[in-house]
């Protein structure tokens, strides 16, 4: 459960101030499926980064699963990200040197999971995301859809409570994009909170709750 209270995020560019988030109040319950839409530069990514504890707000209060996480130390934020948050990015962000299986394994290594268990969990993830025959391939040898599937497998391998996707289909063609969306929705059905930033009205409409942003403010919130 996510509770944002008067969150602001201000960027300074020289003597100019950009209010990327301007007093955001937002509650998202566990297991919700939310889309965030709005014009470019309206603050969608910044909002997602704050929710995912990648970015720190300049003002306001953030409560995650009942605990105040506004002023957590850098180390604690890393731990919360690892335990509760999964990120999916438009540009996949796979490590080019590592194979699909190794990319998926990364969070398990960070978490300190024993090698034997790591192996079986990666195996299961490869199975679940239909990547079995691609396990030993590097990202450069994978299609866009396969890369995003690897990224999603990596984001969910530690079973996060919330999955944050920033334009996850932005680099994919329509058909593959729809497949990836179906995959994410499958995770939502399994109980994960799903928050998706998208430009695509059609995809955004599939969510159960639609948040519209403009100039760092929430201008629409419909279910």
């Amino acid at each position: 459960m996510i509770r944002l209270d008067a969150i602001t995020r201000v960027f300074r560019m020289g003597d100019q101030e950009v209010r990327a988030l301007n007093g955001i109040n937002l509650d998202i319950a566990s297991g919700e499926y939310v889309s965030i839409m709005g014009p470019s530069g309206s603050g969608k990514s910044t909002l997602l980064n704050v929710i995912g504890l990648l970015d720190r707000p300049d003002g306001g209060r953030y409560e995650l699963d009942g605990a105040d996480v506004t002023d957590l130390s850098e180390n604690d934020r890393a731990r919360v990200r690892r335990e509760k948050i999964g990120f999916v990015f438009q540009s996949f962000h796979l490590v080019p040197r590592l194979t699909a299986a190794e990319n998926i394994e990364l969070p398990l290594i960070l978490e300190g999971v024993a090698p034997v268990e790591r192996k079986s969990r990666v195996e299961a993830a490869l199975d679940a995301f239909d990547l079995k025959d691609r396990a030993r391939h590097r990202p450069s040898e994978l299609s866009g859809g396969q890369r995003q599937r690897v990224a999603i497998a990596r984001a969910t391998i530690l079973r996060p409570t919330a999955l944050l996707a920033d334009e996850p289909t932005g680099n994919l063609d329509h058909r593959i994009g729809a497949e990836v969306m179906a995959l994410l929705e499958g995770l939502h059905h399994a109980g994960t909170t799903l928050i998706i930033v998208t430009h695509d009205r059609e995809l955004g409409a599939r969510a159960h709750r639609h948040i519209a942003m403009r100039d760092g403010e929430i201008v629409g919130d419909e279910t």
Binding site: N49, N75, A78, F89, H93, V95, R97, L106, G112
Partner: protein, 400 residues
């Protein structure tokens, strides 16, 4: 992230940037190899010199006419007034001292040796029976100059001379002519090779009286003295100085040197030299360290989005710092190991090419070389690693 995973992950990273890693490893390796080879050379030279001195004899005290300029015990040229001669009589007095086990007076000259139908100039040593034990010489045939019978005309030939004059190997018992006198070959020295620029294989040794007659001189070239023990060396030196000063009307006109002092001086000089070259070689390691730092900084810049990703999936700053740290560790470890191998191979080939030079790399140099490589690599990675750890994840993900 635990240590093992950190090491495995960083190793695979290092291995995947093959060319770059090889270059760094090579730079490190050359530095370490330079340390190892140069110290092997320096220490080899030291051992060579020490070995040469030791082959002269143990607990050796050498008396030479003339006063050395410095009191440092170094056999400098005798300057100043013409020194009083050192005589056989002096030698006998020295031999009476309680600290002295044995002594051998020495005269050196060149004379014509004829025998077995051959004739040539040879270096002649005049001495007594004690020369053999004092100088650690060995015989291959016959006997050395008879003890106490310095008046018998015996000659001992170096191995090379014996082979040259009597190729059939039966030198002992033969008569030869040296200058105008005839000598009976009593023994042949075992081959010893060169020592202190003196090839004992090519000398002939005759009793001191004959030598003085042959060279028409009363004065000795040197007196070789063997002290009773290592502890007796210094007292012997003092006693010899004292007795000779008394005999020379209170004039301190001889130089008494101990092999220990000379040896210690050479040892010190060559050790310093070895340390010096090791230091110079270590500088090249520092250069390699700067290279590592540079490459790591470039790596951090190149892998900014990757670092952002690691942070996004929950890697704490410490993990990221350790990853880069471990990469530098692998590079310097590989560099150190390769350098160690190269250095030892290089020293081996030097020993092969110059068998006389015991160019064994000292253990401390190998350890210091590898340790310096590790140290510089690790220190050089501190800045890049902490820079990576401090990156802002949002900015890093966007590649800024």
């Amino acid at each position: 992230m635990n240590l093992r995973d950190t090491l495995t992950l960083s190793f695979s990273t290092v291995a995947s940037y093959r060319t770059r890693s090889l270059l760094i490893v090579l730079a490190m390796a050359l530095g370490v190899a330079a340390v190892v080879v140069l110290t092997a050379l320096g220490d080899g030279a030291r051992r060579y010199v020490v070995g040469q001195f030791s082959s002269l004899g143990t607990n050796l005290v050498i008396v030479l006419p003339g006063r050395a300029e410095t009191s440092g015990g170094f056999p400098g040229a005798a300057l100043g007034q013409t020194p009083r001669d050192l005589t056989l009589e002096d030698a006998r007095f020295v031999g009476q001292l309680p600290q002295v086990r044995r002594y051998a007076p020495l005269n050196v000259g060149v004379a014509e040796l004829a025998g077995g139908g051959r004739l040539r100039e040879v270096t002649v040593l005049g001495s007594n029976a004690e020369l053999l034990p004092i100088r650690h010489m060995k015989l291959s045939q016959g006997s050395f100059l008879a003890r106490g019978s310095e008046r018998s005309a015996q000659i001992v030939l170096g191995s090379q001379l014996a082979r040259e004059f009597f190729p059939d190997g039966r030198a002992v018992g033969q008569r030869v002519r040296l200058g105008d006198s005839r000598f009976l070959v009593s023994g042949v020295l075992a081959p010893q090779g060169e020592s202190m620029g003196f090839n004992s294989d090519e000398i002939a040794i005759i009793p001191i009286d004959y030598a003085q007659e042959l060279f028409n001189t009363e004065s000795l070239f040197r007196i070789l003295v063997e002290a009773k023990s290592r502890n007796a060396i210094e007292p012997a030196k003092a006693a010899i100085s004292h007795v000779l000063t008394l005999r020379h009307d209170g004039e301190e006109d001889v130089t008494v040197i101990t092999q220990d002092a000379v040896l210690a001086t050479f040892d010190r000089i060559l050790r310093a030299l070895t340390l010096g070259v090791a230091g110079i070689a270590a500088v090249s390691l520092a250069v390699a360290g700067i290279l590592v730092m540079n490459v790591m900084l470039v790596a951090v810049a190149q892998r900014t989005t990757e670092i952002g990703l690691l942070k996004a999936i929950g890697a704490p700053a410490a993990d990221i710092r350790r990853l880069f740290f471990a990469e530098a560790l692998w590079l310097s470890l590989a560099g150190g190991a390769l350098g160690f191998a190269l250095g030892h191979a290089g020293s081996y080939f030097i020993r092969l090419a110059y068998p006389a030079l015991p160019a064994w790399p000292p253990a401390w140099a190998s350890v210091a070389g590898v340790a310096t490589a590790l140290f510089t690599g690790v220190v050089a990675s501190l800045l890049p690693a902490s820079r990576a750890a401090k990156l802002d994840p949002v900015l890093a993900l966007s590649g800024k």
